[in-house]
Symmetry: C2
Subunit: 322 residues, 2 copies
């Protein structure tokens, strides 16, 4: 198991130590709105190296996606198959990759890759997933479907991916995404913090877990009155009920509590799998615990695992260990 076909430069942020000596099989890309993350994968989907760049879809100028990709992969072996998921397949991305309808299985995604030839190879973009609810409303995801397929979930699992637009997904046999719902919780937090009157009273300070918990309880109890509950962040600051340094956590708690309470109303799982950044997942685990639902963390590198799984199903690479 050998022939290192190239040398890795350590220049890119997040570059892992890599000394060659194994067979590289696939370059897998998590290409989102803000960030571009690359995985160099070996046999069995083993992660040999990772790189990150601020080359998200919004940062790419004048459609220079190929240049951003070549820069990220500089020094990695040439000629490897390339696969990507995320907003790179959106209307604002490199090429719009049509949505796959729910229930959505990884094999169906593998059969619907969008191939984008460029000077340097062919990038295969994973389709996003669309859910059409009974009331006619649609919901969409791009990137999270790949994480879900990489997280080794079982039929009946409920998986929550906290973030700017957090997703609650319900899983069927073979990792199929049966249905999902998007909550704008993270973006609401950001715009309220940066642009509303609420943020004006915020002050820096240490974490305020009690104010967070108080917010979660309020959000759980008063999710139906969220635009009213939010104003209590201001009154708590004005009246001195909470110090300015605790208001951000209080707001975070109200929003996460409202999400958890509202989502559980639509379907109450025995437990939830959390998939995402550690500190944010801890907040969700705390809110879920207050709502009486246990949470466990999914394995890391779900995106790389998901991309490997799709690439295997699409026969871009061969399954099997090194």
């Amino acid at each position: 198991v050998g022939n290192a076909r190239g040398r890795l430069s350590g220049a890119a942020a997040g570059a892992a130590l890599y000394t060659g000596g194994v067979t590289e099989r696939l370059i897998a890309l998590d290409w989102g709105t803000s960030n571009l993350r690359g995985y160099l994968l070996g046999g069995g989907g083993r992660v040999l190296a990772t790189r990150a760049a601020a080359g998200g879809v919004m940062a790419v100028q004048d459609g220079a996606f190929a240049a951003a990709l070549r820069a990220l992969c500089d020094g990695w072996p040439a000629g490897l198959p390339l696969i990507a998921s995320g907003m790179v397949g959106s209307r604002q991305g490199w090429r719009e990759a049509p949505y796959l309808a729910c229930p959505a299985a990884p094999a169906a995604a593998a059969a619907r890759l969008t191939a984008v030839p460029f000077e340097g190879g062919v990038l295969h973009i994973v389709p996003g997933v669309r859910y059409d609810a009974a009331d006619g409303r649609a919901d969409v995801m791009r990137g999270e479907e790949t994480q879900l397929w990489g997280a080794a979930l079982a039929a009946g699992d409920c998986c929550v991916l906290p973030g700017t637009h957090s997703k609650w997904a319900w899983i069927g046999a073979g990792g199929t995404i049966e249905r999902f719902a998007t909550w704008m919780t993270g973006e609401l937090y950001a715009v309220l913090r940066e642009h509303s009157i609420l943020g004006r009273l915020f002050e820096p300070g240490p974490p305020a877990p009690a104010a967070f918990e108080q917010g979660v309880r309020l959000g759980l109890a008063e999710g139906a009155a969220l635009p009213h509950a939010l104003f209590s962040v201001r009154t708590a600051g004005l009246t001195g009920a909470l110090p300015g340094s605790a208001l951000a956590d209080h707001l975070s708690g109200i929003l996460i509590g409202a999400e958890v309470g509202g989502a559980l109303r639509a379907g109450r799982p025995a437990r939830v799998t959390l998939l995402g950044e550690g500190a944010l997942c801890e907040r969700y685990a705390a809110a879920l615990a207050l709502a009486g639902v246990a949470a466990t963390a999914a394995p890391a590198d779900a995106t790389a695992r998901g991309l490997w799984r799709i690439a295997v199903a699409a026969r871009l690479v061969e399954e099997g260990s090194e």
Copy 2:
């Protein structure tokens, strides 16, 4: 009935035609975050002239409140009593006027005016009102209490003041404000439109009442899942379910529907009195109708009437007609 003590300049925006010949009694000011509006009142509280300036609390530089007031009143008779309500009495205003607790009667406000002497007279600032709910949370208003006292409401009335921070107030005997709740609906609309991903798909166009109504129904039904319902503005745009020109009204409908649905859960009046800007009140009337609640409009100039009422109770002026 006579002695016009001054001449009005027509230079200020919103100046009404005024030729003198009556007795001026009071200068009443609606001094908010963004705007400063002045009323020259005659006997019985009759509005002789109004002026508006962009001299809101946020626009006043280096605490130059006296200069802003003198500029607004330029040419109006000197020596008249001066009274103001609104954010001018907040911590960011000219002088912080302590809150009056609910139940809050106009006579109690009249007994608690904050007198601010300045070169040119004494400004009397009306206190804001504070409601402490049973769960320990506080709510606050500044300016709306004066509108409520000026709107000739009856005991048992529910009055809604749509706006950036809309208020639902319940009225007791003698116009007393028994309790109220603030909803950040208007500010949520503004920050989501200007700063979130939702606004990116908006396009200019004619009013879209059907998209608004669809939003109201969604907000009424799914108020408990508001951060999820909001995302449907994006998916409706992405999937073409609604044209870009209808998305702003759709968002407006969802938020107003969520407010109306949530507020009615906390107490369902037979009818509601709407107090505020005409087009926005029409939106609320439409949403209330969809929720099965009738709405009527309050008389205009409620602020001037309320300030007159308080000034009379405080003996700054004498009641009675000219």
